[in-house]
Symmetry: C2
Subunit: 368 residues, 2 copies
């Protein structure tokens, strides 16, 4: 008779064996209940669930990951989004993960590392996540997506519409941008400036297209002097401000393709004592908290980022779940497009004189 020697002190943790014993079934049946597998009699299921509750059992993720085919972890790769963007995205991802008993592992690729795709695949192989959620700009990089496809790792994107198949959610940036221009043109503006975004960013092109489309629909000419190439940061918004406000004939309205740049522009306008929105209308994009913190509050486009991230994560988790079933019909593309409504706040108004823009830098705003 071999003495059962305990090599390591028992951690005291409740295991699946305890649950099996307590409910009088085999561990396999407990496992079935835990994983919502079919072919368990309702009464048995209830008994096991009761034991789980009584013992306050929760499965060991490491053991699950080792024995099973999934680690029950997804990764969120983020590049360089704004804090607000990331914050809202994380909220959505976590909400979906919590509902599905999945964990979230974060990763910011090293910006020094030149090869983004390699840096992403390395993260995947080290962390053994079951899938990846990608947000811009890293979600827009084809080489990264190609790399993920070659290792057959499921992923979902929160990204601008770029025609690439796969899993993802999006807003129609082009349409939303055109709406902004329509709003400005509707107010009577005829010279509408545009601050474009970072050239590597997928949304940049579609927002610019939306701007041009909006002009077209409003019967306004496109003038490339009215387009300033920004970088999605407030510094470039400031530079755009210097550029536009020193023109001989400045635009009467400027559409910045994100809120940060709009805020930078607003700052410069304040410094130069332009009255906003009387002398210059400004619109942004994203509806970050910033847009309600600057003064006047910014007219902008609302992006339901939290909700988009939530939905994208759900799509990802469904795909991960469907991987086992060799159900090819589940492997199709799935892109969901969300509304991005215009939110009119305090920075847009009709131009001072509808024919010509003559912003005279006025003296200080009056004191009380």
């Amino acid at each position: 008779m071999t003495p059962t020697r305990r090599q390591r002190p028992n951690t005291g943790r409740v295991t699946i064996n305890d649950v099996a014993e307590h409910s009088g079934v085999s561990i396999k049946t407990v496992s079935r209940v835990l994983n919502n597998e079919p072919n368990v009699r309702p009464s048995t299921r209830a008994r096991v669930e009761e034991a789980v509750r009584a013992l306050d059992y929760s499965p060991n993720p490491s053991a699950r990951g080792l024995a099973g085919t999934h680690s029950r972890m997804i990764g969120l790769i983020y590049d360089n989004p704004s804090p607000n963007y990331l914050f809202r995205a994380i909220a959505g991802v976590l909400e979906a993960c919590n509902g599905a008993d999945y964990g979230l592992s974060l990763q910011a690729p090293n910006p020094e590392q030149p090869n983004l795709a390699e840096s992403v695949t390395r993260f995947v192989s080290r962390s053994r996540v079951d899938g990846l959620l990608l947000i811009p700009p890293v979600g827009d990089v084809p080489s990264v997506l190609d790399a993920l496809e070659s290792i057959e790792l499921p992923y979902a994107r929160v990204s601008p519409l770029d025609g690439r198949p796969g899993l993802g959610v999006s807003v129609d940036d082009r349409h939303a941008s055109a709406q902004v221009v329509a709003h400005l043109a509707g107010l009577g503006h005829e010279r509408i400036g545009f601050i474009s975004g970072h050239p590597d960013h997928g949304a940049t092109q579609s927002r610019l297209e939306g701007y041009r489309l909006g002009l077209l629909r409003a019967n306004l000419d496109y003038d490339d002097k009215l387009v300033f190439e920004g970088m999605f940061d407030s510094e470039s918004g400031r530079r755009a401000g210097d550029y536009f406000l020193e023109m001989n004939e400045p635009p009467t309205a400027i559409f910045a393709s994100n809120d940060e740049m709009a805020a930078g522009l607003l700052q410069v306008a304040h410094e130069r004592n332009w009255r906003i929105p009387e002398q210059l209308s400004i619109a942004g994009f994203d509806d970050t908290p910033l847009s309600r913190t600057v003064w006047p509050p910014l007219t902008t486009v609302h992006q339901p980022i939290r909700h988009m991230a939530l939905r994208a994560t759900q799509l990802l988790l469904e795909r991960i779940g469907a991987q086992d079933e060799a159900d090819a019909s589940d492997r199709v593309s799935r892109i969901e497009v969300f509304d991005a409504p215009l939110v009119v706040r305090g920075t847009t108004a009709p131009p001072a004189s509808s024919h010509r823009a003559q912003p005279k830098p006025t003296k200080e705003s009056k004191s009380i």
Copy 2:
């Protein structure tokens, strides 16, 4: 001869066995090299490392977690900090994790759930993290800390100084606040308002104390009419603005105990056409990106959040590592205090009419 039947298709992954075979040693020796254990001959270590590189091997975290005593994961619990705060904190935590081959698992406690401590311990038992990093305000909640101590889970806090022993990093909120008041008083302000923070927040009290200390040192009287109770959000900053700016004798300077409230206040001041900083000086706290986005850029206190989070994570990982060695001397408290320098920007200047010497306002940001 028993046919070696492969139950599941091999995942094709490189395992520790492959590395052992490739380098001609046992798997245990490979394990030693991987975990930087002592008593491995340098030449052997080199050979194993070479094999690891050649095969592009990385250990399976699930297997490690199951076999070993650590999951090599730490958790970050966040309550309700600002996006900027969280963003910077995550950057620091990830930096420390990457250096130590640890993963990060995020968790936002359900705000509905009344029992915060229980919600935290449940996360711990589900996720099996080796330790927890806590940031405000959840890091300030004694019941949560007590709960963690009772389950003996290592944790580190990024928190205001509250005298509680343990692992943590901090800035001296009181001192920094006093500096702000000293700066304002130095400019000649004699009526200095204060917007306090959320009452549940640990920093609130020490910043208020710093305000009072600063007044004391500047020989100014404390007047509780000049203290407005805010909530750390921009909305309460706006309410504070309404309150202060409608006083018969409004303060000539207002110190908001975070940037959000300062921004709200600034917004109201703009709406009422007060000239900033000529008619009213405003100072904030935190040095979030917001402080450089509003106009004029905000005088504030810089908090090295990323660095603090990095350091707190290092302390946590050291503690986790030291747990095995029954080295009691490693179980001591360790609180590191970081500098939080005043950054003077555009919202502070001498009062319109001042009896005292008037130092020139600087536009440049300058640490004191």
